[in-house]
Symmetry: C2
Subunit: 195 residues, 2 copies
């Protein structure tokens, strides 16, 4: 099962924080797949909140209520949108290669949503990387290399081919489940296939 997400997506905060518990409870494992949701949304003319203040206000209230249900205490609204979205996810791509993508994503979301520090820029970037035992200078150099930029673009193309149009999205055997509120449906789908 793949967990497609972009650091920069608001609802993905919920999934990033609660996925370990869901994995434990259902004995499943997701592969963390960062991609550039902004590129997909621009491409598909899908603008969820910009210029939509009523819907945006609802989104923050909804996230706040659901976070509480999951035992989380975000400070909402968090800074949004993120100017550093692409860099945040390029760092995540380095983490995919080096095995710390999940830890970094959780650390950076925590700072973004709980301390009000935007992901993808300083001080969030270096603090999050240090917290998980990485060398910020080394990782940030790698994150801005051509090969990582290409890897993020390739992942984004792969996501679009699968029918992913937003974040978070769970893909199970070709079935697409969009939204943190479809996480349990995705898990049930996976378990119904196994039987």
């Amino acid at each position: 099962m793949d967990f497609w997400y972009s650091i920069g997506s608001t609802y993905s905060y919920l999934t990033v924080m609660r996925l370990p518990e869901v994995e434990r409870a259902h004995n499943v494992k997701f592969r963390w797949r960062p991609f550039d949701v902004r590129h997909v949304m621009v491409e598909q003319n899908n603008i969820p909140f910009k210029g939509k203040p009523v819907k945006a206000a609802y989104m923050w209230r909804d996230i706040e209520r659901r976070a509480k249900k999951y035992g989380l205490s975000p400070k909402v609204p968090a800074p949004y949108p993120l100017p550093g979205l692409v860099l945040a996810n390029q760092v995540a791509m380095v983490g995919v290669n080096e095995g710390w993508v999940e830890d970094y994503t959780r650390a950076t979301y925590k700072r973004w949503f709980e301390a009000g520090e935007p992901a993808g820029e300083e001080p969030n970037l270096s603090s999050s990387l240090e917290e998980i035992g990485c060398d910020p200078a080394k990782v940030l150099a790698a994150a801005q290399s051509e090969s990582i930029a290409n890897a993020l673009s390739a992942a984004t193309e792969e996501a679009m081919k699968l029918g992913v149009f937003g974040s978070p999205t769970f893909v199970v055997d070709g079935e697409v489940f969009w939204g943190d509120d479809r996480l349990e449906d995705a898990v049930m789908w996976a378990q119904s296939i196994e039987k």
Copy 2:
């Protein structure tokens, strides 16, 4: 608790069909509040599916999967969007006054989603009204009166003042819950207030 909806909304099919069971299971009662969601969306520049084929295809698949979970068998995609959206909801406003809004809404959605007959136009309108024991000619004349047009506009303004921006929406003591997938959250919210 108010159930704000527009006949013409796709996800509202799920709520319209399963609300009686949710009401029974949780011993709650919703007031059915038709409004003109298209007016709100145009006003707020919120265009969920038009020109977004990937998201629209996902929406139908998602409705199909969730419908199955609720024991429903819609033929998807149903005709969409509905040219007769306003008339469909004007008829519903007559039903609010005369006490058959819920029966009519369910009958017209059933024909729209299960027989492929668009709501808000013939043969769906007259068949649905006849099915619930109404005189189609009489109801359709009333539905197109100035007072009913005004009542639908007033309901739409009231919805917007509450922060409603889409359909279905549940409003419980000022808290707004958007989407069929928030119905249980709305019920839990109402029950937590009672305690």
